[in-house]
Amino acid sequence: MTDFTYDVDADGVAIITWDAVGKSMNVLTREAFGLVEGYIDQALADDAVKGVVITSAKKDFAGGMDLNVLASIREESGDNPAQGLFDFTMGGHSILRKIERADMEPKTNKGGKPIACAINGTCAGIGTEIALACHHRVMTDNPKAKIGLPEILLGIFPGAGGTTRYSRMVGAMAAAPVLLEGKMLDPKKAKSAQLIDAVAADPLEAARDWVLNASPADIVKPWDAKGYKMPGGAPYHPAGFMTFVGASAMINGKTQGAFPAAKALLSAIYEGALVDFDNALKIEARWFTHVLMNPSSSAMIRSLFLNKQALEKGAVRPKGVADQSVKKIGVLGAGMMGAGIALVSAKAGMEVVLIDRDQEAADRGKAYSADYMDKGIKRGKATEETKAALLAQITATPDLEQLKGCDLIIEAVFEDPKVKAEMTAKVEAVIPEDCIFASNTSTLPITELAKASKRQDQFIGIHFFSPVEKMMLVEIIKGKETGDRAVAKALDYVRQIRKTPIVVNDARFFYCNRCILPYINEGLRMITEGVSPVLVDNAARQLGFPVGPIQLCDETSIDLGAKIARATKAAMGDEYPDSPADDLIFWLEDEGRLGRKASAGFFDYDAKGKRTEYWKGMQEKYPLAEDQPSLTEVQERLMFAQVLESVRALEEGVLEDIREGDVGAVLAWGFAPWSGGPLSWLDIIGTPYAAERCDQLTEAYGDRFTCPPLLREMAQKGQSFYGRFDPEKASAA
């Protein structure tokens, strides 16, 4: 059994079929790539073969490259990984170029054989790049199938000719949504984007037809014909000049310079556009290698692809617990969080009971789902039928009796332990014995809340982020008594709603908020020191954060910040360190500047509630300092405030697996995605440097930057987090 098979049909069309052994989705291995080349050679050499169709025997065409290949090439290449990666990439170019040239005479473009690709389902990454090398692409008419080049989302870019081919096909500007945003397109959109040539119910049959009827001119790519001009203009063509000037600026502004792959991608397009096709491929390979050599790409692939996927597939699910898929879920509290939880649960096909104190409040929560579906109908993503079906799954009611038969309860009522305790007792009186009870609290310790339950081992935290339907992370919190079945239940539920879980142990603010709060507080502290709030937020954005800490504070509201500060102080007593950030927050609260919702906070807002500018009144209390810190100084303070908290969470056992610390950070609060997460970032800068910077920051700004003992020890031993806490080795041990 091999990943590709070869068969010549009665009409003399060679069918090369991709069917990766032992996998549900085709991913390309090195060996398989070699097989493709062999079969192409065979077809081109065989006079009985008129042409070739490449297709797949799976439901989909291809998921992409086997990303482990890149890591293994790096390892094999010893002290010169750049050479190994470059050679490998050039090897790929030569195979795909062989398909594209199909034995044509270089000068006359005669004597080649038509090669088509029958894309029978979703097609991504190298699958799409193979298709682009073919002379013709036919895709299934199934609108659920998608095609695209999403590499950029993993911190790399299409490096098997996809960048060069596609940009030369449609021009730099038109290629942007596919190459720079990594958009996956359905067959209809893919055709208008020229990713494919035709849509057919039976793509294999249509591709065979095309092969049998193709003329010699049909198989010559524009760039291999005389007089090729780049659509939209090459860089020094007047129109192209404006495009390329604009492209650099747009990408710079959009990525804030924090994503090296976007820059490399654009360089490959620009430099490639100035030379012939084969030199352009060489240029693409050099930039691709450059990106692979950047530690950011490995970290992004590791966190945002490999580890995210591992967590979604149950990497941390307790062993030996039977499937816990949720059938009927009860959501307590139909506020914004409860309404969102009801929506995502219904979307995943569950029966939902949405409870609030009266019918009206419960209905309001259900209306959230109706609004959501209406928006979908407007965008053509839903219909009146799908809306009605979804709403039929949600029962909005004040009647607790309706919770009978639920196998999971998620409580999202007011953040007050007493209210929650009463609710827990009332609901447990109704629900089945084996029902799991979860709280969506974001601030209250799970172990404490669990005390109100008569089945503490079935009590757990399932912490959503807002807005529920958009945020991809769910933080699962184990209380002291939480049992394995509750954890499995929570994980299976998160899998059903197609989000990414992390499982952490109970501690103040769990994991995510524990790291976000110091990020916000460090930004606020800087204001009190006279640092420009503009500089603080811009510094964060240039680290790749979606919003700076000061803006974030306005979005989440000032009074919430004040409430958390007061509650933490009450809980910690004398141990709570006084912070100028709290003074600032309390002052703003007193001033009634509660943030975006009040149209006044750190910012001023216009009548429509749109942010206009930073509130100048701030400077009356906290005047701007004459000397402003450098961008780097601000950035390091913001980064260390968060990553040290992540290290402490690991040290204290709140985090059990470093993968969760990294994946959670990127998905929950957009922690510098290019870094792969806080622990990956420490690995990139190196623990010795990190420890040294801790000492300097402590000296300059205070004890909150004290180097955690774990980090100190690792620095002394020269260890990295992924070296010392390698999850694979840990699970093997």
Binding site: P235, Y236, P238, F241, F244, V245, G246, A247, S248, A249, M250, I251, N252, G253, K254, Q256, G257, K263, L266, S267, Y270, E271, S532, V534, L535, N538, A539, Q542, E613, Y614, Q628, L631
Partner: protein, 403 residues
């Protein structure tokens, strides 16, 4: 050390750099040759009279390509043994030609040079020679490239200049230029552009809008706001480099930025022996020259550091300078210069500048040295400084002293 003297300085009038401009029908070659011929005729430069012609020009493609300096020498009445060197330091090209010539002479490489430049902006479009810094992502992104108009607006934002201040400077430039023409202050320098039959084509700066007032300018929309805030969004790039700025204040428009024009200028630079040989009297010596590089994003603040450099290299103070020419590429460039050195605006660009009369890129550096010299003579003052901001973040300056 050998001294380098200015023996003559002249320029063509500046024509509007578009189809309805008077010089639009004239080739770059013809305007260059005409300018060189004027130098030759006014100074009787027969034979191998000068070592070289150094010719500044920014957009060196098509008719301005192929070493226009050499073509211009051959198309002129100058001796063919005079070779021709085409140079490009963007807006300071004409000044750099003069400075190079002066420093060659000071170093003993030849007795005399013709130095100047040309730009036919209506015929060869600015930017049509391409520029890696604008389009090559490996540099454009790393250097935070923004177009000059955005840079001018960064200066206004960073140093706090308002639209009103910029417009007031433009109104004053127009007033001064109009007055200078009325009083014939450019008579010594401006030559008439004629055709091959000797028929006149243009004898005055035609870009000016005398009588421009604040109310006229107030009607104009900021020219760089769209490209800054919307497509492609250069403001975001500017703020990446200047992260303490909340937004960019777009104050520049066609009325307070330099005009797009056609024109040429030349100076005759030589040592003492040259003057004696040709019976010419030196008007001023080139006291010192300087150039400098700086952040390419704000790009246009060059006049400040290059002036600091030229003063300190020469052991001078700002107070030692009697008059200034600071090229009015954009109003904020001049405002920043005046702010940095706290100089009396009455001493800066006495006869108006590029906002009123236009900025033929390759020629302006030579033009303003000539204008400065004329005005020093008119006011009977001694020392003048001319300086320009330069694309990609550079600055150039020349200090002259009457003899």
């Amino acid at each position: 050390m050998t001294e380098a003297y200015i023996y003559d300085a002249l320029r063509t009038p500046r024509g509007k750099g578009r189809k309805d401009g008077a010089l639009h029908e004239v080739t770059s070659l013809r305007l260059s040759a005409l300018t060189l011929n004027a130098v030759k005729e006014r100074n009787n430069l027969d034979g191998h009279a000068v070592e070289d012609v150094i010719w500044g020009n920014v957009t060196q493609v098509m008719e301005q390509g192929g070493c226009l300096a050499r073509s211009a020498v051959l198309a002129s009445d100058l001796d063919e043994r005079i070779p021709g060197l085409a140079i490009n330091r963007f807006c300071a090209s004409g000044m750099e030609a003069v400075n190079l010539a002066a420093n060659q002479i000071k170093g003993g490489a030849g007795n005399a040079y013709i130095a100047g430049g040309v730009e036919m902006m209506g015929r060869v479009a600015m930017g049509s020679d391409g520029a890696a810094i604008a389009v090559d992502p490996s540099l454009a992104m790393d250097s935070y490239f923004v177009p000059q108009g955005i840079s001018a607006d960064i200066i206004a934002t960073e140093y706090g200049f308002s639209r009103e201040q910029a417009d007031a400077l433009a109104v004053e430039s127009q007033r001064r230029a109009a007055k200078a023409w009325e009083e014939g202050r450019f008579e010594k320098s401006v030559i008439t552009v004629t055709d091959q039959n000797g028929l006149p084509i243009l004898d005055h700066d035609e870009y000016m809008r005398p009588g421009t007032g604040m109310d006229n300018l107030a009607k104009l929309n900021p020219a760089f706001q769209m490209m800054g805030e919307a497509m492609p969004g250069f403001d975001k790039v500017a703020i990446m480099k200047y992260p303490h700025l909340e937004r960019i204040n777009h104050i520049h428009h066609a009325g307070n930025s330099s005009g797009i024009v056609d024109g040429a200028a030349a100076l005759l630079i030589g040592n003492k022996e040259f003057g004696a040989q040709f019976g010419l009297t030196p008007r001023a010596r080139i006291k010192s020259t300087a150039k400098i590089g700086l952040d390419p994003t704000i790009m246009l603040t060059g006049p400040v550091p290059v002036t600091q450099k030229i003063l300190s290299d020469d052991g001078m103070n700002i107070g030692d300078i009697d008059l200034f020419e600071v090229n009015e590429a954009f109003a904020s460039v001049v405002l920043r210069f005046q702010q940095a050195f706290d100089v009396d605006p009455e001493l800066v660009n006495v006869n108006g500048g590029s906002i009123a009369m236009g900025h033929p890129l390759g020629a302006t550096g030579a033009i303003i040295i000539g204008t400065l010299l004329d005005e020093l003579e008119r006011q009977d003052k001694e020392v003048g400084l001319a300086t320009l901001c330069i694309a990609s973040g550079m600055g150039a300056a020349t200090v002259i002293e009457r003899v």
